[in-house]
């Protein structure tokens, strides 16, 4: 039996891996080092981000920046998350930036004056103008907010403002307020790899902005975007089974409590 144990565990891991890959969200980390394949170029010479990309389903986007620099209000919201149903379970759009870490692939269509993001998940789309225009004025806050883009060399930089507080940052139940603004940095580092960074700037909930990122792989050549209608046959929702808490289950009993951020040093004092 002792000899069997490793084999059984290995088999379970293989099964596990097979099922996870079936998600199509590419949870396996993709190398951050460029694989050396040439970066496609648009007619105007810019790096061309166009293609169907297989997003990573990132459950806890803030995992690499712990502890988060919570404000008291932000800490309260984080610890209160298990009293709320995840908005996406009710088919509310994931919003920015969560739309970039939700499951299923997305397609980028790059044009000379705009970059269009087409997300399979909940059929979200974003038209990011890169022609120098500013943010629109007089609009009500929305789930995806107002986004404008600019090119920084080969990197597409997107600034998003005018967001609501009705979305979450991820499946872990990381939260944001209506003061959130987001900066995304998209860069194709090879024919097959798309580097992604998001900076979360929310002075109501976090004492300072924080940035995370990873690399997404190009989807297999035969993939096309498919229909994803969140309310088509959503029995979890319509049968009334949904319960509060983050989707990754980590805070279901409320025992995982965020820690207060370390106190800020007075301006001008030397860090110790």
């Amino acid at each position: 039996m002792r000899a069997l144990l490793p084999a059984i565990i290995a088999a379970a891991i293989v099964t596990h891996a097979g099922i996870v890959s079936a998600q199509g969200a590419g949870p396996a980390p993709v190398s951050a080092a460029p694989d050396g394949t040439p970066i496609p170029r648009a007619p105007d010479g810019k790096a061309d981000l166009s293609g169907i990309w297989n997003k990573r389903l990132v459950l806890n986007t803030a995992a690499s920046v712990q502890p988060l620099p919570f404000t008291p209000e932000g800490l309260k919201a984080f610890n209160d998350v298990w009293n709320h149903i995840d908005p996406t379970s009710r088919c509310v759009f994931p919003g920015v930036p969560r739309v970039n870490t939700s499951p299923y692939p997305f397609q980028i269509v790059q044009l000379s004056d705009k970059v269009v993001f087409l997300y399979e998940y909940m059929h979200n789309f974003r038209v990011i103008y890169t022609d120098g225009r500013g943010h629109p004025t007089g609009r009500e806050p929305s789930l995806l907010g107002d986004s404008v883009g600019r090119w920084d060399g080969d990197t597409l930089v997107i600034d998003t403002i005018n967001l609501t507080d009705r979305t979450w940052l991820d499946d872990h139940g990381n939260r944001h307020s209506d003061a959130l603004t987001v900066t995304e940095r998209w860069r194709r580092i090879s024919a097959n790899q798309l580097s992604y960074q998001e900076t979360v700037n929310d002075p109501k909930f976090y004492l300072k902005p924080w940035t995370v990122g990873w690399v997404m792989p190009l989807a297999p050549k035969d993939w096309v975007l498919m229909e994803y209608a969140c309310t088509d046959n959503n029995k979890d929702l319509t049968d009334g089974h949904l319960q509060p808490g983050p989707l990754d289950g980590s805070l279901r009993n409320g025992t995982a409590i965020g820690q207060p951020a370390p106190p800020r040093l007075p301006p001008g004092s030397a860090p110790r």
């Binding site: 596990h16 994803y228 089974h241 289950g249 279901r252």
Partner: protein, 126 residues
């Protein structure tokens, strides 16, 4: 030793469940209530956001109880080569999963197995 093996494997399987069922597992199903069901497929719903398979489960006394089990996302399964035709009406299937917290005959499937032991809806279709 066999108990330890079972615990190790169960731990991995539960870890799997929390990952594969992104949409709803934690909010609806109980990872501490595993269930194994064998019955005849009565209907397959291949619609977003998750597939549902309905089956009639017969107990030792011949009593039939209808169950409904939630599976993975149809778009992911389609990309792996599976389809609604993978399971035919009347076909026997064994579902290893976890019960819904609300106590209804509802489960979240971790594995779907045909009578010959072949697993379906997991990984690319061979």
């Amino acid at each position: 030793m066999p108990i330890r093996v079972a615990v190790a494997v169960a731990g991995l399987v539960l870890a799997t469940a929390s990952i594969i069922a992104h949409h709803s597992f934690a909010a609806e199903f109980d990872g501490n209530k595993p269930v194994v069901l064998t019955g005849a497929v009565t209907k397959v719903e291949w619609r977003n956001p998750h597939i549902w398979v309905y089956l009639d489960v017969k107990d030792a006394g011949g009593k039939v109880t209808p169950w409904q089990c939630e599976g993975s996302a149809p778009n992911n399964l389609t990309r792996q080569g599976w389809s609604r035709e993978t399971l035919k009406q009347g076909q026997e299937i064994t579902v290893e999963g976890w019960r819904a917290k609300d106590g209804t005959n509802t489960c979240n499937a971790g594995a779907w197995k045909l009578p010959g032991g072949q697993t379906v809806f997991a990984g690319p279709r061979q």
